[in-house]
C-alpha cells in the first residue's frame, strides 16, 4: 500500500509565503470561459487569518477553489509554500497539495458515506488502515460535537452540521492552511459562535492539529463577525481582489463596498441611503 507523506513542513517554510498569487485570472468552476476575477495579487503569510468578503456571485468560492488547487488560473501563477501548485494526483504533487484544506460551502460531503466515513476517507485513502486512525476519527467527531449522528448519512442532518463534518474532514490530514467558504451563512448565533470559537482556536493552535497555528482564509458576505477574529481583510468587487489591510485599517478605509459588508456606527451609511 502506497502512502503519502502528508506534512512536509520545514524550516525553510518560514521564509516563503503560505501561498501567493501573481496576476492570477480566476474563472468560474462550472464554466472555464467565464472570468470571475482578474489580476489577483495576493500573498498569504504563514499564520495569517484572512477574511475575504464579497456580494453574491463575486467569485469567493471560485477564488478558494483555485487557492486549494481544484481549478487552475487561466493566467498568472499560484505558488503554495514557494512551489507552483499544479493540478494532478501524482505522488510527488500530492504531498504539497495536501498541505492545504478546503471546507466547502455546505460541506459537499459524499452522500453515500456516513458522516464518520466522510471524515475517515482522506485518512484511509492516504494512510491506509492503522490502529491510530479510529482514535483520530473519534477526536475529529468530538470536535464537531456530532457524536450521536456520526453513523448517519449526510442527508439526515442539516447543512450546518454537514459543514462541521466538512471541517473535520479537512482537518483529518492536519493541513497547514485551511480555507473556509462561507462558514457562517444562515447560522443561528449559537452555531455561529461555535464556528468563531473553533476557528479562533485553530488559528491559535488547536490540539486536533497538534497545537500548530493554522493559516486561515474565510469568505463571507458580512465582515462583522470576523472583525474581531480575522487579522487581514479583503473584498471582491467588479472582478477585482481588493486588499483592505489589517483590522486597524478598516475604519479609515474608503472602499464603498466595505460600508455594505461592514455596517457599523463608526462608518458612514451606505451610499445608497446617504444619497
Amino acid at each position: 500500500m502506497t502512502t503519502v507523506a502528508i506534512s512536509t513542513s520545514s524550516a525553510t517554510d518560514a521564509a516563503v509565503p503560505a501561498f501567493e498569487m501573481r496576476d492570477v485570472t480566476v474563472t468560474a468552476s462550472r464554466d472555464a470561459s467565464a472570468v470571475v476575477l482578474e489580476q489577483v495579487n495576493w500573498t498569504v503569510e504563514a499564520g495569517d487569518f484572512w477574511a475575504v468578503a464579497g456580494l453574491t456571485r463575486s467569485g469567493k468560492s471560485d477564488l478558494l477553489a483555485l487557492a486549494a488547487g481544484v481549478s487552475r488560473p487561466s493566467r498568472g501563477v499560484h505558488h503554495l509554500f514557494g512551489q507552483e501548485l499544479i493540478a494532478g494526483f501524482e505522488h510527488e504533487r500530492l504531498a504539497l497539495r495536501l498541505r492545504i484544506g478546503l471546507v466547502f460551502d455546505g460541506g459537499q460531503l459524499l452522500q453515500h458515506l456516513t458522516l464518520e466515513e466522510n471524515i475517515a476517507l482522506p485518512l484511509l485513502y492516504h494512510r491506509g488502515v492503522s490502529p491510530e486512525i479510529s482514535a483520530r476519527i473519534q477526536a475529529l467527531v468530538e470536535l464537531t460535537g456530532l457524536e450521536p449522528w456520526a453513523r448517519s448519512t449526510p442527508g439526515t442532518v442539516n447543512r450546518n452540521w454537514q459543514q462541521r463534518i466538512g471541517l473535520a474532514r479537512a482537518l483529518a490530514l492536519k493541513p497547514d492552511i485551511l480555507l473556509l467558504d462561507n462558514p457562517l451563512t444562515g447560522l443561528d448565533p449559537r452555531d455561529a459562535g461555535w464556528w468563531l470559537d473553533t476557528l479562533g482556536a485553530l488559528a491559535a493552535g488547536h490540539p486536533i492539529v497538534d497545537g500548530k497555528p493554522l493559516t486561515l482564509v474565510v469568505t463571507g458576505d458580512d465582515l462583522r463577525p470576523w472583525r474581531t477574529r480575522a487579522r487581514q481583510f479583503a473584498v471582491l468587487k467588479d472582478q477585482q481582489f481588493i486588499p483592505l489591510g489589517q483590522r486597524a485599517d478598516l475604519d479609515g478605509h474608503h472602499e464603498p463596498l466595505l460600508q455594505e459588508l461592514l455596517p457599523s456606527e463608526s462608518l458612514s451609511l451606505p451610499r445608497i441611503i446617504k444619497d
Binding site: M1, T2, D31, L110, L173
Partner: protein
C-alpha cells in the same frame, strides 16, 4: 420573428419537420446525430484512456478504500441481479427451445437441439441479454449516482482531498461491472441451458439429458470460452465507461442528470449491438 405565433425554437430536434425542404431537414437531422456520435466516441475514447492510465498507475494505491468499492460494484452488477437473471434464463430457454423444437420436429432433427442452444444462447443471446440487463439495472443507477455526485460538488471535494475522482468513482465500477457481467453471463447461460432441457422435456422431445448435454459439449469449442470471456469483459467495461463518462466527465446540474441518463442508456445499447456485431465477425473469421 413574428409574435403571437407558436414557433418551435431554432435548435429544436424537430426543426426539420417544419422548416426547409424534407430532404434538407433529414440531412440536418442525421448530420446532427452523426456529429453527436463522433463527439461522444471521441469523448468516451479519451475517458477510457484516462481511466486505463489511472487503473495501472494506481495499482496498490488506497486498496483499503478501492477494494470495498469494487466488491460493492461486483455485488450490484452480479449478485443482486441473480433473481432477475434466473427469470430471464428460464424465459430464454423457453423461447429458444419452444420455437426450435417445433421446427426441428418437422424435419426430424432433434439431435441439433444442443447445438442450436450453443449457437444462440452461449454465443449470442446469453451475453447480450446479460449486458442489457446490467445496463438497465446498474448502468442507469451509475449515471444517476455519478451525475448527482457531480452536481453536488463531490468531485471537487475529492480533488481537494487529493483523491483522484477517476480512481475513486470510475475504476471500481469498471472492474466491478466487468467481473459482475462475466459472472452473471455464466450463470444466465447455465440457467438457460438447463431450462431449455426442461422445456424440451415438457414438450415430450425424445432426448435424454445425456444426449442433450453431449450435443452441447460437441458444439462447444475452446474459442467459445475465450470469446465469451472477452465479450463479457468488453460489455462490462464498455457499459461502465459510457455510464461513468455521462455522469462524471462534464459539469452537470441536478436537472441535467435525467437527460444524461437517457443519452447514456441509448449509447450503451448502441455499444452493445456494435460489440455483438464485432464478435460475430470474429466468430465467422475464426470459424
Amino acid at each position: 420573428m413574428r409574435t403571437g405565433i407558436a414557433v418551435p425554437p431554432e435548435d429544436s430536434d424537430t426543426t426539420f419537420f417544419w422548416k426547409g425542404s424534407l430532404t434538407r431537414g433529414y440531412f440536418r437531422f442525421f448530420g446532427r446525430i452523426l456529429v453527436r456520435f463522433i463527439l461522444s466516441v471521441h469523448g468516451i475514447g479519451a475517458f477510457a484512456l484516462i481511466t486505463l492510465g489511472v487503473m495501472f498507475s494506481k495499482i496498490g494505491v488506497a486498496t483499503s478504500v478501492v477494494r470495498p468499492l469494487t466488491l460493492l460494484q461486483v455485488a450490484r452488477s452480479g449478485l443482486r441481479l441473480l433473481p432477475l437473471a434466473s427469470f430471464i434464463s428460464l424465459a430464454l430457454g423457453l423461447i429458444v427451445i419452444g420455437q426450435t423444437v417445433s421446427v426441428l420436429s418437422r424435419v426430424g432433427a432433434n439431435e441439433l437441439l444442443g447445438t442450436i442452444m450453443v449457437a444462440t444462447v452461449v454465443r449470442e443471446l446469453g451475453p447480450l441479454l446479460t449486458a442489457l440487463l446490467v445496463l438497465c439495472r446498474s448502468g442507469t443507477a451509475t449515471v444517476v449516482e455519478l451525475g448527482t455526485a457531480r452536481a453536488m460538488g463531490e468531485v471537487e471535494a475529492l480533488e481537494v482531498l487529493g483523491i483522484d475522482p477517476i480512481h475513486y468513482f470510475v475504476v471500481p465500477r469498471v472492474i466491478g461491472m466487468a467481473v459482475g457481467i462475466f459472472a452473471l453471463t455464466v450463470y444466465l447461460i447455465i440457467g438457460a441451458l438447463l431450462s431449455g432441457y426442461l422445456w424440451a422435456f415438457l414438450q415430450d422431445v425424445p432426448l435424454s439429458p445425456g444426449d442433450y448435454f453431449s450435443q452441447m459439449a460437441g458444439a462447444l469449442t475452446g474459442l467459445d470460452f475465450v470469446l465469451l470471456a472477452a465479450k463479457s469483459v468488453a460489455f462490462g467495461s464498455g457499459i461502465s465507461l459510457i455510464m461513468c463518462y455521462h455522469g462524471l466527465a462534464q459539469p452537470l446540474s441536478i436537472g441535467e442528470v435525467s437527460r444524461a441518463t437517457v443519452r447514456a442508456v441509448s449509447q450503451g445499447i448502441v455499444f452493445c449491438v456494435l460489440i455483438e456485431i464485432f464478435f460475430i465477425i470474429v466468430y465467422l473469421l475464426a470459424g
